[in-house]
Symmetry: C2
DNA sequence: CTGTTAGCGCATTCAG
DNA sequence: CTGAATGCGCTAACAG
């Protein structure tokens, strides 16, 4: 007893075959009518569509279509922490925005995956129905899982990731940009400069920057920016922040500034604008005036509305970075071999830097 | 010429059948060995796993598995605007965080979908391989698309959505919470109170609040909060903001405050903490002191670090809201029928409200 | 506990 | 331009 063509729209589960039967054509013709992948007579197509309408058929089942074509139309975006944490960083959001927009053009969806997963759901990365994976601000990130994807034929691309063989990496000039800022401070006359860094490794807590931590660091942006600063101030000490937030910057700033005046740096280089804003607030908390008593620079070019003056910083094209990653993914899925790319940053002189006060 | 069991790992595309053949068991047994859905002898299981290892087989193809089981393991989250816009709102982020965490427990992924899609990619919502859809801060939102999902058997749940038949809605007490704040202001002696509202409809721009706009409003939170305020101050005028940002709040605040003193409200109720912070900054811009010259209240209970004092506001359990939605989805997929739910908010007296200045 | 038998719903060869 | 057959890779029944 076939279940085709005998039920009207009783169980609401019409298939393409049902539609074809009702329209008096073969399933393959009906398929073409829907996908447009092939020639159909207008009249036939109309008949098929009408039959579909009558049966309440709304289009091919995505699951079946996926199995057949070998593609799900979804790419994964792996972020380092849980959403509530990672998404406090405007750079991540903008990057994701650019990525989603670019992919959306082709009807591709974005599946959010978090690097920090419990043991139990580690499956998700390895078993996710994705056509490609984008690593966003992640470290080496479960190399095992990546290997599995590779073997499954799922291509990977990274954003500010570890340059590794065969995966395209979308980068920004972290080291050069930071060096620019450091040179700016040096030219103003600063010699005692301290750093507030991003996390250098997953799980970093607010702590003094050590050589060991720097060498063990797996998170590119933080590590590269330390190097950029040290290109100019080789002995600059620092504090490692755990996240890129105003609160973290404020705490780190306090650690650096709440000491006797002679031990206080004349400038602080924060590795993100959010951290820099926090440092400015920390200075204010301690009665120091910026930039008279302390110069502060950031990184990113995010506008911090609530700061009394614009930050001296370098701006990076976060959204464009995501869009580039999106285009790379598309190219990859089209069988191409996208190239790695490094975006420049642009120096922006704000109101938070000035020559150091006389001592 | 079968392609099973004759190739080692030549083309890297081993299937479960290949593994089964190599292990000398049937495909179904191998399947069970991987999924754990059924009884297998430890020894057999080990043999299967060993064979898989040798063939470089890393587990069942998610696409095939999905077709067979009828589930993709993915739920969609529909947000009102593009990521870069929607994710500027910490409440949305926290809600999404709670949702993702709860779903992640069961290995379910989150697919990001945006309500604001071009004509071309409108397919994605209708053709996305999702097991359920969560509407997050959306309006009635492409009713057509929703209907399609319904017919396809994809259940929908809403967060602060339009209560509609058959879909569970996770809500917060927007009206009651705002009324609480209004009563607080009234008790302090305020009579001239103005509002800064969230967008009442998709596409709203910064503009004065009119009755027409209020009645046409489709975005629950904004509309409900206006009603809550008007329960106490029936004639309160207002400005509709387009987004929940400090910048918008500042602009709206300026419109309300940059007038002759006699026409100035003594208190402003902003519908989000971000908007409220903007209003505080606007007041400062104009040389008004908060709360001496102007009282300000927010909504949400988001901590705004950069404000000189904590806001008087009501806090809502944003993350818990998302988690509740997640649990509802799980229940739905288990064949249950989750109930709608409304979370309470809690009043938090901060430092931004005081009795009005003498006139 | 394991094997056998059937499809899930569709897109694609290849003939006509 | 249309139709008939084939299997994507897997899992759910049941039978042994």
């Amino acid at each position: 007893m076939g279940r085709h063509s005998d039920n009207g729209e009783a169980d609401g589960r019409a298939t393409l075959s049902d539609v074809a039967a009702r329209a008096g054509v073969s399933p393959s013709t009906a398929s073409i009518a829907f996908s447009g992948q092939g020639p159909v007579a207008e009249a036939t197509k109309a008949r098929v569509l009408a039959a579909a309408e009558e049966l309440g058929y709304t289009g091919p089942d995505p699951l079946a279509r996926s199995l057949r074509t070998g593609r799900s139309g979804i790419v994964g975006a792996l972020i380092p922490q849980r959403i509530g944490t990672s998404f406090r960083d405007p750079v991540i959001i903008q990057t994701l925005d650019g990525l989603a927009e670019e992919l959306g053009q082709g009807g591709t969806g974005l599946l959010l995956l978090s690097e920090r997963t419990r043991e139990t759901d580690r499956v998700s990365l390895e078993a996710a129905p994705i056509d490609a994976l984008v690593l966003l601000g992640c470290g080496v990130s479960s190399p095992a899982a990546i290997a599995v994807l590779h073997r499954r034929g799922v291509p990977v691309i990274t954003i500010e990731g570890e340059p590794s063989a065969g995966v395209a990496n979308i980068d920004v000039d972290n080291r050069g940009g930071t060096r620019l800022l450091a040179e700016h401070l040096r030219d103003l006359g600063h010699r005692d400069v301290a750093l507030v860094t991003l996390a250098l490794d997953v799980g970093d807590e607010l702590a003094p920057l050590t050589d060991a931590a720097l060498e063990a660091g797996t998170l590119r942006p933080g590590v590269a920016r330390v190097h950029g600063a040290r290109d100019v101030f080789p002995a600059a000490p620092g504090i490692i922040a755990s996240g890129s937030t105003i609160a973290d910057g404020r705490a780190a700033g306090r650690m650096l500034l709440d000491v006797e005046a002679s031990a206080r740096p004349t400038a602080i280089m924060a590795q993100s604008d959010l951290l820099a804003a926090g440092v400015v607030f920390a200075a204010q908390d301690l009665g120091l005036s910026v930039p008279a008593d302390l110069s502060v620079v950031g990184f990113d070019g995010v506008r911090i509305d609530e700061l009394p003056m614009p930050l001296t910083t370098v701006s990076q094209p976060a959204q464009e970075k995501g869009a580039a990653a999106g285009r790379a993914v598309v190219e990859l899925l089209d069988g191409g071999q996208p190239e790695s790319r490094c975006f420049p940053v642009v120096f922006e002189r704000g109101g938070t830097t000035a020559p150091p006060a006389e001592r």
